[in-house]
Symmetry: C2
Subunit: 355 residues, 2 copies
């Protein structure tokens, strides 16, 4: 396998929130990012413009400059609304493929099905990876009890969507790696896939195969480490996505759950007619629904306190700990260590740990 | 809308269990079946060969005889393993389309995408309906609380797959129609669709849209009547299909559930490592998981007692009633009336009833 050196295309949109794939990959990705291609912001660095991007990746004006800097893979770093690709980008992508760069995309437009791009890729030997395309050999799972004992699986579930499950999962993975665990982030959505370079966007899988996709992801994670942190999707009481949540849950068969919640939210964001039960009841429900298939325990609450001042945030965290009788923290604000300890306390000893 | 008169193609396989679509449509379908096309059994009638088919539909040797008998639609009545179509059948289907017959198929092979069949259909004005193809405009649901008060929704859920949820749903619909309800069977799988002539095979929908498909089905049912009996899929603790079950449940927002169970089964059939909780706990879990989205109540247990002698069957039914504190019956063996009464007792008065 060749070492990938990414150029990330955001042409004009690096500061836009639609560039979250670019931001996430720069912040969390393990692959080297040699340049961002964005003529509107050329000459600056990523971290100078978006502080949480952390790394001073140079922003360049053209693909050629990225190639000169050593890029061998072009990642489309923007998910525009509707997922369609502007013609000017297509021209640039075609040029990259001609030069032999691999292309990676999480767009709805499946690039590998474009006859012109396909022809060029065949000629140059470049590969086109559409992150939203699931493996074609998905099937129903083997079911619980069929994996090695040394493998431990942590799954970050939530009370709603878009409350930071992916961030919590990645922060926990990094904290575990920092204490010596062979920890692996297992991505289940397109941004996570762009960050890690592998995974399945389970919400695009045919419904019969969601659990099978969950098991496939665990199998694949098991080849990479011993302690898996599997990104959750949806929420158990979400009127639109609960099916994805439960299929994934029964496919992944987690040993431990981390329950993610946005402080103060009392209803499902997109469905205000649905009131959330108390956090303790949601936690109990996650445990009950898993129990006959593969027993699990909620080990901690990962609270998002975005928008609260620090004192209020600490107050809400304390309150939640008392209410739930579980460790609670905001991993982005105060670090993932306390939650990681709570998670590991629920797991049998994991190889490679230094606890 | 023209009145459909079906010819059902089973060529050589009428006695095979793969002909369950043919058997189901003859037994339960509302459309007239003028002939079965099956040269191996020509000259007999459907009910003479398969008693539960009930109707003495003539079996004929050729398509032409079916056309002469008035058929204007050819239904593929067999789902062969793998879902592929033999070449000889393709020839016969092409011939039917040329003669202007509509074609309806639940096969994996999407007939309407076959260029030759498509051309012929355009020439003759015939339509090709692939039952497994979902509407292309599916989306997430509007969510609970958005339908008319007079609409009541009953959903048949189960403890496992292939235990008779579809049959229970249809028998309840017929019993409700018999007492004057504007009752509608809402099909969620391919055989149900072939029987009713509409519906969505929800297990083939992209996972993000399962709940949306459930709501779509209720909306569509609401145009046809006031009391819907929605066929369930999978089971809440099924390691492969629970996601389909829950997505459908939260999309359908049932007012009342009927819990289907095979007498004596203690484990998931295809996953013997998964032990079923007691029936009372499964019923409670179905209610709990629905509650925040749309509260519901399990009104009765539909038990399948296939393989038990009548005394034993009645004994198990009595025991289950005591254990669960709910009406329990085998609707195929002893009729659907007791369960229907239990269901209606849980519903606010329904228009058109004579209770």
């Amino acid at each position: 396998v060749k070492t990938e050196r990414l150029a990330i295309l955001t042409e004009g949109l690096f500061l836009d929130h639609h560039a979250k794939t670019a931001h996430g990959v720069i912040r969390y990705g393990q692959r080297e990012v040699v340049a961002v291609v964005d003529s509107a912001h050329a000459g600056r660095t990523a971290s100078a413009l978006i502080p949480f991007c952390v790394k001073p990746v140079p922003i360049v004006a053209s693909l050629q400059e990225a190639v000169d800097a050593g890029a061998n893979c072009l990642l489309i770093g923007v998910a525009p609304t509707g997922g369609k690709l502007p013609q000017s980008w297509l021209t640039l992508i075609a040029e990259a493929i001609e030069q032999g760069l691999d292309v990676e995309s999480g767009l709805h437009t499946i690039l590998s099905e474009d006859p012109q791009l396909k022809d060029r890729a065949e000629a140059s030997g470049a590969s086109i990876r559409d992150l939203r395309q699931a493996p074609t050999d998905l099937d129903v799972p083997r079911g619980p009890g069929k994996r090695r004992d040394s493998l431990k699986v942590v799954h970050s579930v939530g009370t709603d969507v878009a409350i930071g499950k992916k961030t919590v999962t990645i922060e926990l993975t990094r904290a575990a790696q920092a204490v010596g665990d062979k920890a692996v982030f297992v991505p289940t959505g397109q941004t996570g896939i762009a960050i890690a370079g592998w995974g399945i966007a389970v919400d695009h899988v045919v419904s019969d195969y969601v659990a099978g996709a969950g098991e496939w992801l665990v199998d694949e994670g098991a080849r990479r480490g011993d302690l898996l942190f599997v990104e959750g999707q949806g929420a158990l009481f979400h009127p639109a996505y609960s099916g994805v949540t439960l299929g994934l849950l029964h496919g992944v068969c987690p040993d431990v759950l981390v329950l993610t919640h946005r402080a103060g939210s009392a209803r499902i964001g997109s469905y205000p007619q649905v009131e959330l039960p108390p956090l303790t009841e949601i936690a109990a429900e996650y445990e009950r629904i898993c129990s006959p298939v593969h027993p699990t325990k909620v080990a901690a609450i990962a609270l998002s306190t975005v928008g609260l001042d620090e004192d209020t945030a600490r107050g809400v965290i304390d309150e939640t700990e008392k209410e739930c009788g579980l460790i609670c923290d905001d991993v982005v604000r105060f670090g993932a260590d306390r939650i990681l300890r709570a998670v590991r306390a629920e797991l049998p000893p994991v190889e490679g740990t230094d606890v």
